[in-house]
Amino acid sequence: MTDTTFTRLSRRHFITTALTAAGGFALGIGIGGPAEAASLSARPWGEEGKRYPGEVNAWVVIEPDDTVIIRYGRAEMGQGSFTALPQILAEELECDWALVKPEYASANRNLKENKVYGSLSTGGSRAVRETGDMVQQAGASARERLIAAAAKRWGVPASECAAAMSKVTHKPTGRTFRFGELAVEAAAIKLDKEPPLKKPDQYKFIGRRLARLDVPLKINGAAKYGIDLDVPDMVRAAIIKCPVFGGTVKSVDEGAIASRRGVLRVVKLNNAVAVVADRYFRAQAALNALPIEWEVGAAGTTDSAQFRKAYLDALDQKGAVARHDGDVDAAMPTAAKVIEATYDVPIIAHAPMEPLNAVAHVQADRVDVWVGTQNADLALTFAAQASGVRPENVYIHNTFSGGGFGRRLGPDEVAQAVAISKAVGKPVKLIWTREEELRQGRYRTQAAIRFKAGFAADGTPIALDMRNAAGSSNPANVKDGLDPQTMQGLINTAYKLPNYRIVSVLKNTHVPLGPWRAPGHSQNVFFMESFIDEMAHAAGKDPVALRRELLAHRPDFQQVIDLLVEKGDWGKPMPRGKGRGVAVHESYDSIVGMIAEVAVTNGEVKVERVVIACDCGVVVNPRGVENQLEGGMIYGLSAALFGEITVKNGRVEQGNFDTYPVVRYKDAPKTEVYISPTPGKRWGGIGEPGATMIQPAVTNAIFAATGKRLRSLPIRGQNLSGAA
């Protein structure tokens, strides 16, 4: 592990030395009490409309007592950027971390003030990647204005002053002002030009292994998730949407539940039925007992076998050329050897731990929604549309959220909760069951791909031809028959071949699709990294050696592979029935490689160890990078081992964790993460990459252990017995 520079530490900070996962020593701070580190409220949404005199800019407020409120312009769904982004801002602001209190940026203000916080949407591993520069500049700008305010008071040039630990010092005389004494004046100062940002080698706070600010709230039940919110006079609702996507409500026998205790109303939406009661458990029990007939249409006869065939058949249909380097048609016939393979994956659901929910309060001229959303901007739009209230009068109070992984980017629950609140004229808390969550997903697309690779006589790959069939999760993104998202990981591969072509066929069914952690990459990296493995074996080459060959133009990749191979024991012998598999990929400006070790015993797969190497550019907080790679890996491992949503009669068959299994302790491998950043300024995203590589790393390891090549997922249910 490369740990980061550690040059200065506030005396108020409590220093610990800890043995890291990697076995190296790392310094950590802030695990002490609340006096030692910044702190986060269990209710971290700001007070709407409140204007602080000490608001130096939209991101930074300094109170008279020196408290630093740092606005956080993304969602916290577990990825840790509620700590990482304030950490970046604090680097430039030169404030005392112990005085920092981050809070959510307001979506309403973002609307009214022309996207002052940029996009609040938290997908695409973008929190640090895209907001990093904004908050860095905001911190630097605030610091310079605090310095200017102090210089003005002293009547000295600003160049004689410096900021550190929430104070401005006049260097020649040693006089100081606290930030809290200067903030109001600083807020009024206009700078001639924005100050330059520190260079990465000047960072003293970015790169530290800081404790996450939300952890103390998440070990005692204090953190408030959307599902935990109570507002005065609130009623509760349970809901079921037509189980056949696109269907509508035909009839509801309300009388059947009218006399049940606590039941207040049945609210019929076009495509869903909600029961409103004084308590959620009463609403849900009544809904379970409510006879509902649905209008399901032709989609009611579809099933997964039809879908799978349709996607595989689509590989023979006319598509659009997404990328074509060289001339595949000319090169392929010259190949000394050609191999072909077809892969496919089923739809899968997100299954965040916290089922979707929202508290909505619709009034004549104002809407308030409390929700853990990945996309507060879109939640605001949905709430405005569902209520008919002007967007300027809609307030989204973003809470902690119990996972997102892409599902909370499309806030269906917000629109429903708002519609129900409007119907009953009271604040309503709407809670989905786990069954509703799995059956009303915005799923990862079903997808299929056919590869054809040609080799020269010496085994050098000369051509790679791909035909891919996948669904678009957003028709608005489709241009010239292509949705860039379905091509992620193929169109922007780092591998270099002289002749390289992708033809894309877009195919959608009635199943709603959405971004699933590392959308596009998620299935395409499984495809590509599996087939690259097949190519290596076909050419008689070591799988790592072929990857190095195709990445010869990328020294940064070679460095990650060096680290991966060393730490992951690549090439060392393994006992019979065990194997190692490798995968490397660049996504979201980060290069990540994985080696998985598996044991296959009597057809059962156990992933025993996973080694991860990464170059994500600037490491804001090594702990955060490790967490996200470990967690992303486990998320992808669930998909690889178990992930499959099946459709019968147009409706999803799985309903809960008994039929949609996910990784538990017993399935979770020993994991090691090694970070080796290349120098320079690059905020690589880290929330998603881990979820992709693990899928092919495991199936490649199964091949190494058994000789059996898996070209479909999930692994569960495939016959591996006797293969070893």
Partner: protein, 151 residues
């Protein structure tokens, strides 16, 4: 009327006997640290201690625990000083955190039964789901908590 004691406080409750304990805790008593994850005792997010034993409260009818002493995450310790909480803090386990109340309660109960578990013991006996995939840190934290409790 149903009588239970939660975190040392007695409650008399006028609820239907088939109401899950989880929803009594959350909606009648107002303790929201115990989470709803699946409703079928499959994920463990709702784990509490009933007379000292870990139980998945989403599937415990309130009528079946008349007179019971219940401890929730809020009652495990007044100041987050329980060994399991301290281990979770030191190992920085939570990501989204939604499953962690249940993880902590399941671990606290298990370590009373087995104060020195192996990794295999943990795999076999701790079955709560974490969708963020914190298992590497969870496992380390369980060992750390066990060591703290033995000390």
């Amino acid at each position: 009327m149903i009588n239970i004691k939660v975190n040392g406080t007695s409650h008399q409750l006028d609820v239907e006997g088939d109401t899950p304990l989880l929803w009594v805790l959350r909606e009648e008593i107002g303790l929201t640290g115990t989470k709803f994850g699946c409703g079928i005792a499959a994920c463990g997010a709702c784990t509490v201690h009933v007379n000292g034993a870990a139980m998945r409260s989403c599937s415990v009818p309130i009528g079946s625990v008349e007179g019971a002493e219940i401890i929730t995450i809020e009652g495990l310790s007044p100041d987050s000083q329980h060994a399991v909480q301290q281990a979770w803090l030191t190992e920085q386990v939570p990501q989204c955190g939604y499953c962690q109340s249940g993880q902590i309660m399941a671990t606290a109960a298990y370590l009373k039964i087995n104060p020195n578990p192996t990794d295999a013991d943990i795999d076999a006996n701790l079955t709560n789901i974490c969708r963020c995939g914190t298992y590497e840190r969870l496992r380390r934290a369980v060992h750390r908590a066990a060591a703290l409790m033995r000390a």
